[in-house]
Each structure stands twice: as C-alpha cells, then as structure tokens.
Amino acid sequence: MMTSISEHNKKVTIKKFMKTALTIVFWLGLWFCAYKIVGLDVLIASPIDVAKRLLEFLPDGNFWLTIFNSFKGISLGYIIGVFMGSVFGIITAFSSTLNTLFKPFLTAVKTTPVVSFIILALVWLPKVSVPIFITTLMVMPIVWANVTSSIVNTDKELIEMANAYNFGFSKKMKLIFLPSAVPAFVAACKTAVGLGWKAGIAAEVLCTPQNSIGINLRNSQVYIETVDLFSWTVVVIVLSLILEKLLVSILDLCFKKVMSKGGYFIENTDK
C-alpha cells in the first residue's frame, strides 16, 4: 500500500513537471515564431539572444548590485506600506469619523493611475526615494482597507460577550479584534507583494535612480537595445515570482510562529 501511494505521488509529480515544462516550451516556441515572423531584432529580440545576455549578466557584480538596490528600495517601501496600512487600518476601524475622513484619500489612491503619483513624487522627492514612496502608496491602501474591514466585521456576538464581561480595550484587541483581523491582514500582505513590486519598478523606470533595474530598462529603451530590454524584463518577472514566493513563505512562517506563541488557534486563509 505504501509503495503504491509513493508511486502514485511520483507519477503526479512527474505529470506536474511535464505540464510546466511543456507550458514553458510552448511560450518560448511562440516567442521564437513571433521573432521569426517579424524578422526585426529591434521589435522582438530572439529568445536565444536574451538567454545569452542573461548568462552574461550572471557573473557581473553590477547586475547583482542593481538587483540588490531595487530590492532594497521596494522592500523598504513595502514594509513602510504594511506598517502604515496596519496602523491606519486599526485607527479607522475604531473611528467612523476618521474612516469617513480618509475614505476619499483611499479611493483617490486606488483609482488614480500610478504614473500620476510617480510624476508628482518626482516633483516632491529626491529620485532615490520615489520607488520607496510609490511602493508604500500602493501597498498601504490594500493593507489599510483589509485591516479596517476585518475589524469592523468582527463577530458582533463576541463583542457583546466581551462587553458583558467587562473586557478592557487591550483585552478585546488581544483576544477578539486582532485575531479576527490577522487572516485578512496576511492575505492583504500577500496581495500587495506583486502590486508593490510592479509599481516600484515602474517608478524606477520613470525616475531612473543609479544602479537600479528601472534605469537599465529605460536605457535599453532609449538606446533601442531590444535584447537588453527583453533580458531585464525577464529579470523583473523572475524576481517578481521569487519575491512573491519568498515573502509569502516568510509571512506564513511568521504568522504561524506568532499565532502559536500567543496560544492562538487560527488557520491561515488565502482570501
């Protein structure tokens, strides 16, 4: 029985791997066909040239410095966004006046194209701070809205029970409000990773800070280096995937540790 289960699992893994490999081959093939049909390196770079360029990047110290700089700025923006979103989320959850007051701001941030904020930030801030500011601005409303709504929608019966037994504010927060909000908070943090990364890179492209992914994308466009443009785009996609997986794993781990240390029974939910 054990053997048949492990054999079955092995088959499932192989099948999954084959599916992924075929998908990658399909899209690379499609890219190659498009390259051949168009026949202009300036418009579509060859996947082979891009692969060669990526291999050239790997031993280059500047490449890793560039990635580190972009990662550092965007991560800082992400952390500030999560922190500010959590604090403001809690504040507006308990004050309907402040909630009403801040609603137009949240709506404006959500509906305004990110490029408008980038241009404004370029006017207000030194260009090295722009990606940090933009990432914060994109991450904060997601965390803010999720934290507020999860606290506001906390089980009313539990709140009434807490009032009946004279729970103080800190006890209510610790036992009812925060544990109710944690799954939505974690889900918001996960959603915000991809969005923050994309907005941060977009900000870098427009404000071109030294040794950043954005300046390399911009230079590739200015000097019509299509192979470089494609290569850096591949780098952005791969980093985005790695960053998302990494941060989601870190968040899950922190979530489980904090919850078990506090003696909470909460299942993580991917909302």
């Binding site: 019966e157 009434e160 029970m161 009946a164 037994y165 009812i176 109710s180 029974f265």
Partner: protein
Amino acid sequence: MKIQINNLCKKYGDKTVFENYTNTFDFEGILLIKGVSGLGKTTLMRIIAGLERADKGEIIKSADKISFMFQEDRLIPFVSVLKNLTAVCDEKKALYYLSLMELENEKDSSPLSLSGGMRRRVSLARALCYDSDLVILDEPFKGLDKELKIKICEIIKNESEKRDSIIISHDTEDAEFLNARIVEM
C-alpha cells in the same frame, strides 16, 4: 435579590415586546423564568443585564455586576478553553470551574474542537467563574442530556448558595432539579 421593573416598554421595529410591563422579582437562590418562545424572556434579562436599552421605563436592581450566559455559547474561537475562562477570572478559579464541569482535560483544546454539550459547559463555567452579584443563565441546558443536566443543576444549586441566579428555561422539570422558584411570563 430584588429587581423591580416599572412600566417597561420595548419595541423592535413594529413588534412590541413590552408595553408598560411592571413586575418585581424578589427572591433568594434560584429564580426560573418560564414561558414559550417570543414572550421576551431573553429581552427582559438582556435589559436587566444592561446589554440592551429599554425604550421607556426603569429597572431598579440590587446587583451591580451581572454575569450573563448567552443562549449561544459565544466562546472566543481563537484561544483555548482555559484562556476563554481566564479572560474573566484568574487561572486557579478557571481550572476549578473546568474541573467542576469535568472539562479539565480539554483546557488546552480549541473551543471549535469541542462538542455542542462541551461548549455549553465551558460557556456556563465562564459565567460562573466571573465575579458577580447575580448570574443570569439563558437556556443553560440546551444540548445537554438528562444525566449531564442533573449534574449541572447540582453545580448551579451549590453556586446559588453564594449568589443568586436567574435561569431562563422552557422546561418546568428544570425547576424541580434546581429547587427554583418559578415565574411564568
């Protein structure tokens, strides 16, 4: 314990629950409030406990702190059974009441992992271990079998020697188990 209710009025939308309701509950030990559903037993107790406001009228009571067991268990699902109790009293007291309810082995369990009857007993333990002048128990025997109900009645009877209790129930048999005075609504 004396609770005086004067000209109480309470409406939910168009539905009138109380219209100038006046009554006095003067009792020692256990008072069992009996009546069919929809008469306002729970509403009256919620108003007495200060969980709800009356539209008009007044309630004069000699209890400052009231312990209220809800019809629903209302246990905090995020923390253990013991933490649900230590939220209202110290650990020693919480463990004592858990052992009275024969739930000491479940102290570290999640409330969600307990059966309905167990959750009811945890909810009752929480109401009893809260330091109060009066205990109000709304349908405390819901979901309990007869054997367990008799055991719980004994615990409530012993507790009523320390402080008075009001119990809401549909069942007259409960009054016999509890040696309670019955008030029909």
